[in-house]
Amino acid sequence: MNKEFLCRVFRKDDENAVKQLVESIFSGFLEGKYWNWKYKENPYFDSRLVAVAEVNGEIVGCNHWLFRDLKFSGSVVDKAVLAADVAVRPYYRGKGLGSSLLQFLRSSNIVKSRNVALIYMFADLELAKKFHTPAAGYVLVPDGTVQYTKVLNWKKVKQNIDLLNDEMRSGNLGRKVPKRGLKVLFKMSAAPPLCIHVKEDGLAVDESENLDGNADVVVSGDLSVLNRIKMAKRRRWSFLKALLTGKIKVKVRLSKLFSVFDALWIFEEVFGKKMT
């Protein structure tokens, strides 16, 4: 056991603290308000499969497992464990707390007594490479699932633009704002065209009809490529790589040749972390 924190099984009186922790970490998904549904109301929920880590009596991490029937192969359907939410307060990350919670549950009596063969989980590749695979030896399954997306409107982008404009007006924006008058058009597959106009008082979405003719820079490409760039650690490098390999195309008016960097700035600032 680690000296700094203690891992133990979830108790009934931990409910509020765990809920609060999960809500604070996963606030981006259904405002984090899904704990009751996901666990308490779940027909497979077993509180002995929830582990918490505490420091001086305060819960700073938790790990949720759920039993589920799962088909492995042929006619083999058996109980498996779904490794669901792992939440660790940011201050305690990188200190082995997540791994300890994982090992705690793996060695728990309930898992041993149920004689379960497999554990599974869903994660993006980056996170799995960084945390899950080294900590628990997870293996990527042969992918038979295709994920599709379609952007219906740019409501979230408009909200981001409002926030950005507030920052610009208050002078809190640390970076240089692009030249006034610049119009950048994003044309992506599975999304309506989006033209952003840099005005005197900030950025605005241009909803005029002739977007193609008006734009100074046109960035076009596949939504998934742009999504990947958004999620990449070094976005500029990813953007450049996609540009050089032809995965995205940029058309610039000759008089605004150097505005490509401004287009990149807009791309980085106005889209959320994940574009969809």
Partner: protein
């Protein structure tokens, strides 16, 4: 062309929905069998799902349920299910889902479909969806003995005809919750898998946890594991036997998971 009736979910539809889901998806690895209780929790009680976001398509003539979609206001189509090769049903469902989300001011719509379902993939493409690569499914091991036992039981007839061996597998890096040594005894009567060393094994396999799991899941071939020295076989000329054994044991289906199983 068939005539369809589309309507929203009403209490009492659960059983037919569960039946269609199980019929369509039971062939995939990763399939979580639906029961009414599980479906009610997974879809109906989900915080972002309302009854007007669950669409059902019935064949007007037969009255059979041909497909359904469970659409959440977070923009996720938690379950999209249409009987095989029903392009029209899938189109109706996806169209309804998109309209519903547009009406509710949702910014984006996400859906998962099986890679080998040409019809659903085609419908998604036609409706202007783009492929994204966000989440992946991973598996880990809790008990090799149990896993190998279950896989072997599924093919016991074939295995006991093909092999007469006592195979012992030693895991180099097994953490404390995984068996360090497991033995597989295959004879004419069946396959026996247990923890520990079998008496006078005919084949000894030394490997590591990740390699064996990758081989069993089907992402690494035993031959490749052997050639890259991640798997050692004693005596080495018995490798073809080990190769055949592991190839017959490993999981073959592709893995599919609807969004509802993820969130």
């Amino acid at each position: 062309m068939n005539c369809y009736e589309v309507r929203n979910f009403v209490e009492g539809d659960e059983e037919r929905i569960v039946e269609v889901f199980n019929e369509v998806y039971e062939k995939f690895s990763g399939y979580v069998p639906r029961t009414v209780e599980y479906w009610r929790w997974c879809c109906l009680k989900r915080p972002d799902v309302r009854e007007d976001g669950i669409f059902l398509v019935f064949d007007k003539e037969t009255g059979n349920l041909e497909g359904y979609a469970v659409v959440g206001l977070s923009g996720n189509i938690w379950e999209l299910c249409s009987k095989p090769n029903r392009e029209d049903v899938a189109s109706i469902l996806l169209d309804r889902a998109v309209c519903y989300l547009e009406e509710n001011g949702v910014s984006a719509v996400n859906v998962n479909v099986p890679a080998d379902d040409q019809t659903l993939n085609e419908v998604c493409r036609k409706m202007g969806f783009a492929k994204v690569d966000v989440h992946k499914m991973f598996v880990g091991i809790l008990s090799f003995r149990k896993l190998i036992f279950m896989l072997a039981q599924d093919k016991t007839g074939v295995l006991s005809k093909m092999f007469r061996e006592k195979i012992c597998i030693e895991m180099k890096d097994a953490p404390f919750w995984i068996e360090k040594v497991i033995s597989i005894n295959i004879n004419g009567e069946g396959v026996d898998v247990f923890e520990g060393l079998v008496e006078s094994p005919t084949i000894l396999v030394k490997t590591d946890v990740k390699t064996l799991l990758s081989v069993l899941v089907g992402v690494l071939s035993p031959r490749r594991a052997f050639l890259s020295f991640r798997m050692r076989v004693k005596p080495f000329w018995k490798f073809p036997v080990v190769n055949r054994f592991l190839c017959s044991l490993r999981m073959e289906n592709s893995w599919y998971w609807p969004l509802g199983d993820f969130g």
